[in-house]
Amino acid sequence: MAAANKLLGISRCLLGSSRLGVPAVRTVMCPRSSRLGPGHIRAFSSEDKVTVKFINRDGETLVAQGKVGESLLDVVVEKNLDIDGFGACEGTLACSTCHLIFEDHIFQQLDPITDEEMDMLDLAYGLTDTSRLGCQICLKKSMNGMTVKVPESVADVRQAVDMGKSS
């Protein structure tokens, strides 16, 4: 059965949240997002492609290409990148499992962060000065060749806070 192969290699986009009747309320719709249903094949010229290197938790580098306008979560899902637990809330700003660390010069040119992204990012483990949530970052041509780092653990700092409590 294909189910076994599909396990976790699944594309969440294809799963579609509508199955649950759950509206993906806060999903970022990048200007040229490829969140098109099956069958909607668009022709992209090579200029639309952006190459991204992901440094995984174990130090391994995963190289993937995405299209301009796609989010980094889209890339991870569509290219089936083996990053454990990435994108648990499917890009709705309700987890922080898509936390990525950017290079300085790329970080500078990212679109400004919203309060809502910051709220979720606050709970990300291993927060750095150049951290953002991957589901909120859309690919631009100028990002071609950039390297993003997956923080070592996706543990939520709420744990640290919770554990520090007296009772």
């Binding site: 059965m1 189910a3 076994a4 599909k6 396990l7 976790l8 699944i10 969440r12 799963l15 949240s17 199955r19 649950l20 009747g21 759950v22 509206p23 993906a24 309320v25 806060r26 454990d84 637990g85 648990a88 809330c89 499917e90 709705t92 700003l93 309700a94 987890c95 922080s96 499992t97 309060d115 809502e116 910051m118 709220d119 979720m120 606050d122 709970l123 483990y125 927060l127 653990s153 996706v154 543990a155 939520d156 700092v157 709420r158 744990q159 806070v161 919770d162 554990m163 520090g164 409590k165 007296s166």
Partner: protein, 487 residues
């Protein structure tokens, strides 16, 4: 597939001692690590996911007490937070794997023992969460009008055990003891415009009761100060912006806080800044307009520790909560509240104790620390019992969001994978897995619910919801669920 029919007749509790013939019949089959998980909440599913993903042979069976999966994602997460429930998509993919089997409607510790599972599997993972509530232990706690957060949340989320709760919402003031995210969930559900809730999967019973609710004011009471609140910023922001509702925050509680929080870690600092802003600053036009028109309000009371619930004159219901005024010793996250000797009463018709959940022990053979409510373990390996593991709230205690649970479940799964690899689990010696357990259950008259059975329930619930414009209408009665499955 295992040719196991003989093994199936082993008497209760004796599965470890399989008859010699049965042992031999296994040896011709290439061995598979058979792993059993108890509980189908995030801990169970994330542990399963990690094992299946990183061991291409492993067979993982998930046993669940209820006929329906997903634990607190279904019965805890607030109905107006559907995006949090997106994790169900990933869990569903895991459950549909041909190497994963869901066996619902099986209460481990009652229908089958942990020892029996240990006999049938190479490894058993306890991921059964924290089902009980922490008790306040104060006089009057048993009075009508006092509810635990656990029961109230279970009621609005359709937990079968709580379907007859009937909270009386005819008073104007409710007090929630505790200032965690569960307290905020309850406050939000009590105060949200019903038209917002109508579009969620909240139960119809709760919706009907809430649309008749007369509650206008909700106090969330903390024994410590504003720098120690346990809720998080996203949830606070949502509360501040809740339509038809305004915050009632005493400026005196917040003056000088911004300075005090200057050097705190970023999350606490931003949370404090938001509190201070809501309490001391003039809101923007839109928010100001919402607050001005609001008919309902919520507030935070600090440095108040619950002493007693006082009854109404006829003694029949809760009418007030008596609080001990406290002061803080120490500072920061570890500050401790000590009583000053002063007391204060708040009049209220409804009291929720939201001071946390608690795990219970499900077997006398499994070590358990009742004080902390956790199974003693290192990296998820249960102390002193090879082959037994734990993950999630029963491993860590009842705190942390789904992401936290995911991380610790991956850690436990990693420990299992390592043990399999090191040969510590004797997995080359075959184990019968669910085949043997199913037979035991059959003998005991228990009919497990499969994942495709759950999908039938899911379909029925979704269809029922669709008819009334909701994502789902949950079935509240386990009997009704089982009937659907039998058809």
């Amino acid at each position: 597939m295992w040719g196991l029919s003989r093994c199936l007749r082993v008497p209760r509790g004796r599965l470890l001692l399989l008859p010699a013939g049965v042992q031999r019949s296994f040896s011709s089959v290439s061995p598979t690590p058979h792993i059993c998980i108890v509980g189908s909440g995030p801990a169970g599913f994330y542990t399963a996911q990690h094992i299946l993903r990183h061991n291409p042979q492993a067979q993982v069976d998930i046993y669940e007490k209820l006929p329906v999966p997903f634990g607190l994602v279904r019965f805890g997460v607030a109905p107006d937070h559907p995006e949090v429930k997106n994790v169900i998509n990933t869990f569903t993919q895991t459950a549909r794997s041909e190497r994963c089997t869901f066996l619902g409607n099986v209460t481990v510790g009652r229908d089958v023992t942990v020892e029996e599972l240990q006999g049938a599997y190479h490894a058993v993972v306890l991921s059964y969460g924290a089902e009980d509530k922490r008790e306040l232990g104060i006089p009057g706690e048993e009075l009508p009008g006092v509810h635990s957060a656990r029961d109230f949340v279970g009621w609005y989320n359709g937990l079968p055990d709580n379907r007859h709760l009937h909270p009386d919402l005819s008073c104007d003031t409710a007090v929630i003891l505790g200032q965690g995210n569960v307290a905020l969930d309850i406050a939000r559900i009590l105060l949200s415009p019903v038209d917002i809730l109508r579009k969620t999967d909240i139960t119809q019973t709760a919706l009907d009761a809430l649309s008749q609710s007369r509650i206008r004011r909700v106090w969330m009471v903390g024994r410590r100060g504003p720098l120690q609140v346990a809720f998080t910023i996203k949830e606070l922001r949502e509360m501040i912006n809740l339509p038809g509702t305004r915050p009632k925050l005493d400026p005196a509680d917040y003056v000088g806080l911004e300075k005090a929080s200057k050097d705190l870690p970023r999350p606490r600092k931003r949370l404090t800044e938001l509190l201070v802003k809501a309490a001391l600053e003039k809101p923007g036009q839109k928010v100001a307009a919402n607050w001005a028109q609001a008919e309902r309000e919520w507030g935070l009371r600090f440095l108040r520790s619950p002493l007693a619930v006082l009854p109404s004159e006829d003694g029949k219901r809760a009418a007030r909560i008596r609080l001990s005024v406290t002061r803080l010793e120490g500072s920061g996250e570890t500050a401790v509240a000590v009583p000053t000797g002063q007391v204060e009463n708040i009049s209220c018709g409804l009291i929720f104790s939201s001071i946390g959940y608690k795990s219970v022990s499900i077997s006398s053979t499994v070590p358990f620390l009742p004080q902390q409510g956790v199974i003693p373990n290192s990296m998820g390996r249960v102390e002193g019992i090879p082959g037994l593991y734990c993950s999630g709230w029963v491993k860590r205690g009842p705190t942390g969001v789904i992401t936290t649970t995911m991380t610790d479940s991956f850690d436990t799964a990693q420990a299992i994978l390592e043990d399999v690899q090191l040969g510590a689990l004797n997995w080359s010696e075959p184990r019968p897995g669910s085949v043997a357990i199913r037979e035991l259950l059959h003998l005991r008259g228990i009919q497990p619910v499969s994942f495709s059975d759950w999908e039938k329930i899911d379909e029925a619930e979704t269809a029922k919801g669709l008819a009334v414009g909701k994502p789902r209408e949950k079935i509240l009665d386990t009997e009704e669920m089982l009937q659907l499955v039998c058809r």
